[in-house]
Symmetry: C3
Subunit: 139 residues, 3 copies
Protein backbone atom coordinates (compact mmCIF):
# COMPACT_ATOMS: atom_id res chain seq x y z
CA UNK A 1 0.00 0.00 0.00
CA UNK A 2 1.38 3.37 -1.06
CA UNK A 3 0.34 6.94 -0.23
CA UNK A 4 1.80 9.67 -2.41
CA UNK A 5 1.03 13.40 -2.48
CA UNK A 6 2.34 15.49 -5.38
CA UNK A 7 1.47 18.77 -7.06
CA UNK A 8 1.77 20.67 -10.32
CA UNK A 9 1.11 24.20 -11.49
CA UNK A 10 -1.39 25.25 -14.16
CA UNK A 11 -0.83 28.66 -15.74
CA UNK A 12 -4.20 30.14 -16.74
CA UNK A 13 -4.90 32.88 -19.29
CA UNK A 14 -8.05 34.22 -17.68
CA UNK A 15 -11.57 32.82 -17.31
CA UNK A 16 -12.32 29.42 -18.79
CA UNK A 17 -11.67 25.72 -18.42
CA UNK A 18 -8.24 24.09 -18.71
CA UNK A 19 -7.98 20.32 -19.01
CA UNK A 20 -5.64 18.61 -16.52
CA UNK A 21 -6.52 14.95 -17.13
CA UNK A 22 -3.15 14.17 -18.72
CA UNK A 23 -1.18 15.69 -15.83
CA UNK A 24 -3.11 13.63 -13.27
CA UNK A 25 -2.78 10.45 -15.37
CA UNK A 26 0.97 10.99 -15.68
CA UNK A 27 1.35 11.21 -11.89
CA UNK A 28 -0.67 8.01 -11.52
CA UNK A 29 1.45 6.18 -14.07
CA UNK A 30 4.66 7.25 -12.34
CA UNK A 31 3.32 6.07 -8.96
CA UNK A 32 2.95 2.47 -10.12
CA UNK A 33 -0.39 2.20 -8.26
CA UNK A 34 -2.84 -0.13 -10.01
CA UNK A 35 -5.83 -0.18 -7.62
CA UNK A 36 -6.89 2.63 -5.30
CA UNK A 37 -7.99 6.26 -5.26
CA UNK A 38 -6.75 9.46 -6.92
CA UNK A 39 -7.87 12.74 -5.35
CA UNK A 40 -7.41 16.02 -7.17
CA UNK A 41 -7.45 19.13 -4.96
CA UNK A 42 -7.19 22.79 -5.98
CA UNK A 43 -5.44 25.15 -3.54
CA UNK A 44 -7.48 28.22 -4.48
CA UNK A 45 -10.83 29.89 -3.74
CA UNK A 46 -11.21 31.87 -6.97
CA UNK A 47 -10.88 28.86 -9.28
CA UNK A 48 -12.40 25.39 -9.03
CA UNK A 49 -12.49 21.89 -10.45
CA UNK A 50 -15.13 20.20 -12.56
CA UNK A 51 -15.28 16.94 -14.48
CA UNK A 52 -16.95 17.87 -17.78
CA UNK A 53 -17.77 16.69 -21.29
CA UNK A 54 -14.44 16.53 -23.13
CA UNK A 55 -15.48 16.01 -26.76
CA UNK A 56 -17.40 19.03 -28.09
CA UNK A 57 -16.01 22.46 -27.08
CA UNK A 58 -19.51 23.96 -27.29
CA UNK A 59 -20.36 22.11 -24.07
CA UNK A 60 -17.73 24.08 -22.18
CA UNK A 61 -18.69 27.32 -23.95
CA UNK A 62 -22.18 26.86 -22.47
CA UNK A 63 -20.65 26.17 -19.05
CA UNK A 64 -18.69 29.43 -19.15
CA UNK A 65 -21.73 31.42 -20.28
CA UNK A 66 -24.09 29.79 -17.79
CA UNK A 67 -21.89 30.80 -14.85
CA UNK A 68 -21.58 34.37 -16.15
CA UNK A 69 -25.38 34.54 -16.12
CA UNK A 70 -25.98 32.69 -12.83
CA UNK A 71 -23.37 34.61 -10.81
CA UNK A 72 -23.40 38.03 -12.46
CA UNK A 73 -20.61 40.52 -11.95
CA UNK A 74 -23.00 43.47 -11.97
CA UNK A 75 -24.77 42.35 -8.76
CA UNK A 76 -24.89 45.50 -6.58
CA UNK A 77 -25.54 43.36 -3.48
CA UNK A 78 -21.99 41.95 -3.47
CA UNK A 79 -19.62 43.77 -1.08
CA UNK A 80 -16.44 41.66 -1.37
CA UNK A 81 -15.17 43.41 -4.49
CA UNK A 82 -11.88 44.94 -3.32
CA UNK A 83 -10.03 43.06 -6.08
CA UNK A 84 -12.59 43.93 -8.77
CA UNK A 85 -15.96 42.72 -10.07
CA UNK A 86 -14.57 39.16 -10.44
CA UNK A 87 -13.62 38.94 -6.75
CA UNK A 88 -16.69 37.68 -4.88
CA UNK A 89 -18.16 36.14 -8.02
CA UNK A 90 -15.07 33.94 -8.44
CA UNK A 91 -15.54 32.54 -4.93
CA UNK A 92 -19.26 31.96 -5.50
CA UNK A 93 -18.65 30.14 -8.79
CA UNK A 94 -16.05 28.02 -6.99
CA UNK A 95 -18.54 27.15 -4.21
CA UNK A 96 -21.09 26.00 -6.81
CA UNK A 97 -18.60 23.64 -8.49
CA UNK A 98 -15.82 21.67 -6.71
CA UNK A 99 -12.53 22.04 -4.84
CA UNK A 100 -11.76 18.32 -4.64
CA UNK A 101 -12.66 15.41 -6.87
CA UNK A 102 -11.87 11.74 -6.17
CA UNK A 103 -11.51 9.19 -8.95
CA UNK A 104 -11.14 5.44 -8.37
CA UNK A 105 -8.12 3.69 -9.89
CA UNK A 106 -8.30 0.22 -11.47
CA UNK A 107 -5.84 -1.60 -13.75
CA UNK A 108 -3.45 1.33 -13.31
CA UNK A 109 -5.85 3.84 -14.85
CA UNK A 110 -8.18 6.60 -13.66
CA UNK A 111 -11.71 5.18 -13.97
CA UNK A 112 -13.06 8.16 -15.89
CA UNK A 113 -15.91 7.62 -18.33
CA UNK A 114 -15.32 7.99 -22.07
CA UNK A 115 -16.53 11.59 -22.21
CA UNK A 116 -15.12 12.79 -18.88
CA UNK A 117 -12.20 15.18 -18.64
CA UNK A 118 -10.86 16.80 -15.46
CA UNK A 119 -10.86 20.59 -15.80
CA UNK A 120 -9.54 23.50 -13.81
CA UNK A 121 -12.23 26.19 -13.98
CA UNK A 122 -10.58 29.63 -13.77
CA UNK A 123 -12.95 32.34 -12.52
CA UNK A 124 -10.53 35.28 -12.63
CA UNK A 125 -10.16 37.53 -15.67
CA UNK A 126 -6.40 37.95 -15.22
CA UNK A 127 -3.89 35.12 -15.80
CA UNK A 128 -2.96 33.14 -12.67
CA UNK A 129 -0.68 30.30 -11.66
CA UNK A 130 -2.83 27.62 -9.97
CA UNK A 131 -1.52 24.75 -7.85
CA UNK A 132 -3.21 21.36 -8.13
CA UNK A 133 -2.39 18.80 -5.42
CA UNK A 134 -2.90 15.11 -6.18
CA UNK A 135 -3.16 12.34 -3.59
CA UNK A 136 -2.66 8.77 -4.81
CA UNK A 137 -3.42 5.89 -2.43
CA UNK A 138 -3.46 2.20 -3.27
CA UNK A 139 -1.57 -0.91 -4.24
CA UNK B 1 -4.87 -2.49 4.36
CA UNK B 2 -7.03 -3.22 1.33
CA UNK B 3 -7.82 -1.20 -1.80
CA UNK B 4 -10.73 -2.43 -3.91
CA UNK B 5 -12.35 -0.84 -6.97
CA UNK B 6 -15.68 -2.22 -8.20
CA UNK B 7 -18.60 -1.00 -10.27
CA UNK B 8 -22.29 -1.55 -10.89
CA UNK B 9 -24.84 -0.35 -13.43
CA UNK B 10 -27.97 1.67 -12.66
CA UNK B 11 -30.70 1.60 -15.31
CA UNK B 12 -32.58 4.91 -15.25
CA UNK B 13 -36.07 5.65 -16.58
CA UNK B 14 -35.51 9.31 -17.36
CA UNK B 15 -35.01 12.39 -15.20
CA UNK B 16 -35.10 11.97 -11.46
CA UNK B 17 -33.20 10.56 -8.47
CA UNK B 18 -32.43 6.88 -7.98
CA UNK B 19 -31.18 5.67 -4.60
CA UNK B 20 -27.96 3.61 -4.68
CA UNK B 21 -27.16 3.44 -0.94
CA UNK B 22 -27.91 -0.31 -0.70
CA UNK B 23 -25.68 -1.15 -3.66
CA UNK B 24 -22.74 0.75 -2.14
CA UNK B 25 -23.34 -0.77 1.31
CA UNK B 26 -23.42 -4.27 -0.20
CA UNK B 27 -20.01 -3.75 -1.84
CA UNK B 28 -18.64 -2.50 1.49
CA UNK B 29 -19.99 -5.52 3.37
CA UNK B 30 -18.48 -7.90 0.83
CA UNK B 31 -15.09 -6.17 1.11
CA UNK B 32 -14.74 -6.91 4.80
CA UNK B 33 -13.33 -3.42 5.42
CA UNK B 34 -14.28 -2.04 8.85
CA UNK B 35 -12.41 1.31 8.95
CA UNK B 36 -11.55 3.49 5.96
CA UNK B 37 -13.07 5.38 3.07
CA UNK B 38 -15.71 4.61 0.43
CA UNK B 39 -15.71 6.79 -2.68
CA UNK B 40 -18.63 6.72 -5.10
CA UNK B 41 -17.85 7.98 -8.61
CA UNK B 42 -20.19 8.38 -11.58
CA UNK B 43 -18.72 7.81 -15.06
CA UNK B 44 -21.03 10.27 -16.84
CA UNK B 45 -21.40 13.98 -17.56
CA UNK B 46 -25.18 14.10 -18.08
CA UNK B 47 -26.04 12.57 -14.70
CA UNK B 48 -24.61 13.25 -11.25
CA UNK B 49 -24.52 12.20 -7.62
CA UNK B 50 -26.08 13.84 -4.59
CA UNK B 51 -26.53 12.78 -0.98
CA UNK B 52 -30.08 13.85 -0.15
CA UNK B 53 -32.92 13.55 2.36
CA UNK B 54 -34.16 9.95 2.15
CA UNK B 55 -37.37 10.04 4.19
CA UNK B 56 -39.99 12.26 2.56
CA UNK B 57 -40.28 11.98 -1.26
CA UNK B 58 -41.47 15.61 -1.45
CA UNK B 59 -37.89 16.67 -0.67
CA UNK B 60 -36.67 15.07 -3.88
CA UNK B 61 -39.66 16.35 -5.85
CA UNK B 62 -38.54 19.87 -4.90
CA UNK B 63 -34.96 19.01 -5.93
CA UNK B 64 -36.12 17.92 -9.39
CA UNK B 65 -38.31 21.00 -9.85
CA UNK B 66 -35.66 23.40 -8.55
CA UNK B 67 -33.12 22.22 -11.13
CA UNK B 68 -35.70 22.47 -13.95
CA UNK B 69 -36.17 26.12 -12.95
CA UNK B 70 -32.50 26.97 -12.28
CA UNK B 71 -31.14 25.41 -15.48
CA UNK B 72 -33.98 25.88 -17.93
CA UNK B 73 -34.20 23.94 -21.16
CA UNK B 74 -35.66 26.89 -23.05
CA UNK B 75 -32.50 29.00 -22.65
CA UNK B 76 -31.77 30.35 -26.17
CA UNK B 77 -28.18 31.13 -25.15
CA UNK B 78 -27.20 27.46 -24.98
CA UNK B 79 -25.49 26.17 -28.13
CA UNK B 80 -24.55 22.60 -27.14
CA UNK B 81 -27.94 21.13 -27.97
CA UNK B 82 -27.13 18.64 -30.76
CA UNK B 83 -28.68 15.84 -28.68
CA UNK B 84 -31.74 17.87 -27.73
CA UNK B 85 -32.84 20.48 -25.18
CA UNK B 86 -31.61 18.24 -22.30
CA UNK B 87 -28.05 18.10 -23.70
CA UNK B 88 -26.21 21.12 -22.32
CA UNK B 89 -28.60 21.44 -19.39
CA UNK B 90 -27.77 17.92 -18.23
CA UNK B 91 -24.07 18.81 -18.08
CA UNK B 92 -24.79 22.07 -16.23
CA UNK B 93 -26.99 20.34 -13.65
CA UNK B 94 -24.21 17.78 -13.19
CA UNK B 95 -21.62 20.53 -12.63
CA UNK B 96 -23.83 22.10 -9.94
CA UNK B 97 -24.11 18.82 -8.01
CA UNK B 98 -21.41 16.12 -7.74
CA UNK B 99 -19.48 13.52 -9.71
CA UNK B 100 -17.73 11.95 -6.70
CA UNK B 101 -18.70 11.62 -3.07
CA UNK B 102 -16.52 10.16 -0.30
CA UNK B 103 -17.99 8.60 2.82
CA UNK B 104 -15.93 7.49 5.83
CA UNK B 105 -16.27 3.88 7.01
CA UNK B 106 -16.35 2.89 10.69
CA UNK B 107 -17.42 -0.37 12.36
CA UNK B 108 -17.91 -1.85 8.88
CA UNK B 109 -20.59 0.68 7.91
CA UNK B 110 -20.88 3.79 5.76
CA UNK B 111 -20.99 6.72 8.19
CA UNK B 112 -24.08 8.30 6.63
CA UNK B 113 -26.41 10.33 8.83
CA UNK B 114 -29.89 9.03 9.63
CA UNK B 115 -31.59 10.98 6.84
CA UNK B 116 -28.87 10.67 4.20
CA UNK B 117 -29.27 8.52 1.11
CA UNK B 118 -26.87 8.35 -1.85
CA UNK B 119 -28.69 9.16 -5.09
CA UNK B 120 -27.88 9.03 -8.78
CA UNK B 121 -29.41 12.19 -10.29
CA UNK B 122 -30.41 11.47 -13.91
CA UNK B 123 -30.60 14.64 -16.03
CA UNK B 124 -31.60 13.01 -19.33
CA UNK B 125 -35.22 12.53 -20.40
CA UNK B 126 -34.56 9.17 -22.06
CA UNK B 127 -33.66 5.99 -20.11
CA UNK B 128 -29.92 5.34 -19.71
CA UNK B 129 -27.61 2.74 -18.22
CA UNK B 130 -25.25 4.51 -15.78
CA UNK B 131 -22.04 3.06 -14.38
CA UNK B 132 -21.13 3.80 -10.77
CA UNK B 133 -17.56 3.03 -9.69
CA UNK B 134 -16.83 2.47 -5.99
CA UNK B 135 -13.41 2.64 -4.37
CA UNK B 136 -13.04 1.05 -0.93
CA UNK B 137 -9.83 1.60 1.03
CA UNK B 138 -9.13 0.59 4.60
CA UNK B 139 -8.57 -2.14 7.12
CA UNK C 1 -0.48 2.53 6.52
CA UNK C 2 -3.19 3.72 8.88
CA UNK C 3 -6.93 4.24 8.43
CA UNK C 4 -8.70 6.22 11.14
CA UNK C 5 -12.30 7.47 11.28
CA UNK C 6 -13.25 10.01 13.94
CA UNK C 7 -15.95 12.62 14.47
CA UNK C 8 -16.73 15.83 16.29
CA UNK C 9 -19.80 17.97 16.90
CA UNK C 10 -20.25 21.58 15.76
CA UNK C 11 -22.95 23.56 17.58
CA UNK C 12 -24.42 26.13 15.18
CA UNK C 13 -26.33 29.30 16.07
CA UNK C 14 -28.43 29.46 12.92
CA UNK C 15 -27.63 30.21 9.28
CA UNK C 16 -24.05 31.02 8.36
CA UNK C 17 -20.57 29.54 8.01
CA UNK C 18 -18.55 28.06 10.88
CA UNK C 19 -14.87 27.34 10.38
CA UNK C 20 -13.75 23.80 11.26
CA UNK C 21 -10.20 23.83 9.87
CA UNK C 22 -8.59 23.69 13.32
CA UNK C 23 -10.68 20.72 14.44
CA UNK C 24 -9.71 18.73 11.33
CA UNK C 25 -6.04 19.71 11.67
CA UNK C 26 -6.04 18.61 15.32
CA UNK C 27 -7.34 15.16 14.39
CA UNK C 28 -4.66 14.89 11.71
CA UNK C 29 -1.89 15.88 14.14
CA UNK C 30 -3.08 13.32 16.69
CA UNK C 31 -3.13 10.58 14.02
CA UNK C 32 0.57 10.90 13.29
CA UNK C 33 -0.10 10.52 9.55
CA UNK C 34 2.35 12.50 7.41
CA UNK C 35 1.33 11.55 3.84
CA UNK C 36 -2.14 10.58 2.68
CA UNK C 37 -5.71 11.84 2.47
CA UNK C 38 -8.11 13.57 4.88
CA UNK C 39 -11.80 13.40 4.03
CA UNK C 40 -14.32 15.59 5.81
CA UNK C 41 -17.93 14.38 5.69
CA UNK C 42 -21.06 16.04 7.10
CA UNK C 43 -23.84 13.73 8.36
CA UNK C 44 -26.68 16.11 7.50
CA UNK C 45 -28.86 17.17 4.57
CA UNK C 46 -29.81 20.66 5.79
CA UNK C 47 -26.22 21.87 6.23
CA UNK C 48 -23.19 21.45 3.99
CA UNK C 49 -19.45 21.90 3.63
CA UNK C 50 -17.53 24.43 1.60
CA UNK C 51 -13.87 25.42 1.41
CA UNK C 52 -13.95 29.22 1.24
CA UNK C 53 -11.86 32.39 1.46
CA UNK C 54 -10.77 32.66 5.10
CA UNK C 55 -9.30 36.17 5.29
CA UNK C 56 -11.96 38.82 4.68
CA UNK C 57 -15.36 38.19 6.37
CA UNK C 58 -17.11 40.12 3.57
CA UNK C 59 -16.43 37.16 1.27
CA UNK C 60 -18.57 34.92 3.44
CA UNK C 61 -21.21 37.61 3.90
CA UNK C 62 -21.62 37.59 0.12
CA UNK C 63 -21.82 33.77 0.15
CA UNK C 64 -24.67 33.86 2.69
CA UNK C 65 -26.54 36.54 0.78
CA UNK C 66 -26.03 34.90 -2.61
CA UNK C 67 -27.62 31.65 -1.43
CA UNK C 68 -30.57 33.52 0.11
CA UNK C 69 -31.16 35.05 -3.32
CA UNK C 70 -30.47 31.93 -5.42
CA UNK C 71 -32.61 29.55 -3.34
CA UNK C 72 -35.35 31.83 -2.04
CA UNK C 73 -37.55 30.85 0.90
CA UNK C 74 -40.61 32.52 -0.64
CA UNK C 75 -40.72 30.11 -3.62
CA UNK C 76 -44.37 28.98 -3.80
CA UNK C 77 -43.35 25.99 -5.94
CA UNK C 78 -41.63 24.22 -3.03
CA UNK C 79 -43.79 21.60 -1.30
CA UNK C 80 -41.35 20.07 1.24
CA UNK C 81 -41.92 22.77 3.87
CA UNK C 82 -43.36 20.79 6.79
CA UNK C 83 -40.54 22.06 9.03
CA UNK C 84 -40.82 25.66 7.82
CA UNK C 85 -39.67 27.86 4.94
CA UNK C 86 -36.03 26.79 5.56
CA UNK C 87 -36.84 23.08 5.09
CA UNK C 88 -36.56 22.35 1.36
CA UNK C 89 -34.31 25.35 0.77
CA UNK C 90 -31.75 23.98 3.25
CA UNK C 91 -31.54 20.73 1.28
CA UNK C 92 -31.25 22.59 -2.04
CA UNK C 93 -28.45 24.83 -0.72
CA UNK C 94 -26.70 21.70 0.53
CA UNK C 95 -27.00 20.03 -2.89
CA UNK C 96 -25.42 23.07 -4.55
CA UNK C 97 -22.39 23.01 -2.22
CA UNK C 98 -20.76 19.86 -0.74
CA UNK C 99 -21.31 16.98 1.67
CA UNK C 100 -17.75 15.62 1.48
CA UNK C 101 -14.42 17.27 0.80
CA UNK C 102 -11.07 15.48 0.47
CA UNK C 103 -7.77 17.19 1.20
CA UNK C 104 -4.37 15.65 0.50
CA UNK C 105 -1.89 15.39 3.40
CA UNK C 106 1.85 16.04 3.01
CA UNK C 107 4.52 16.66 5.65
CA UNK C 108 1.90 16.01 8.32
CA UNK C 109 -0.28 18.91 7.23
CA UNK C 110 -3.52 19.44 5.31
CA UNK C 111 -2.47 20.78 1.89
CA UNK C 112 -4.88 23.73 1.97
CA UNK C 113 -3.94 26.89 0.11
CA UNK C 114 -3.10 30.06 2.03
CA UNK C 115 -6.61 31.50 1.79
CA UNK C 116 -8.59 28.28 2.17
CA UNK C 117 -10.59 27.47 5.28
CA UNK C 118 -12.93 24.50 5.73
CA UNK C 119 -16.42 25.70 6.69
CA UNK C 120 -19.63 24.08 7.85
CA UNK C 121 -22.44 25.95 6.06
CA UNK C 122 -25.57 25.91 8.25
CA UNK C 123 -28.77 26.39 6.25
CA UNK C 124 -31.25 26.21 9.14
CA UNK C 125 -32.43 29.29 11.03
CA UNK C 126 -32.53 27.50 14.40
CA UNK C 127 -29.39 26.34 16.25
CA UNK C 128 -28.35 22.74 15.58
CA UNK C 129 -25.69 20.25 16.67
CA UNK C 130 -23.92 18.99 13.53
CA UNK C 131 -21.69 15.91 13.34
CA UNK C 132 -18.60 16.03 11.15
CA UNK C 133 -16.90 12.70 10.38
CA UNK C 134 -13.23 12.71 9.37
CA UNK C 135 -11.41 9.87 7.61
CA UNK C 136 -7.62 9.90 7.70
CA UNK C 137 -5.70 7.43 5.55
CA UNK C 138 -1.96 7.31 4.99
CA UNK C 139 1.49 6.69 6.36
Amino acid sequence: MKAITESFVVPTRGKGTYEITDEVSALLKRSGITTGLATVFLQHTSASLVIYENADPTARADLHRFFEDLVTEDNPGLIHTAEGPDDSTSHLRMALTRTSESIPIAEGRLQLGTWQGIYLFEHRSAPHRRTVVVSLIGN
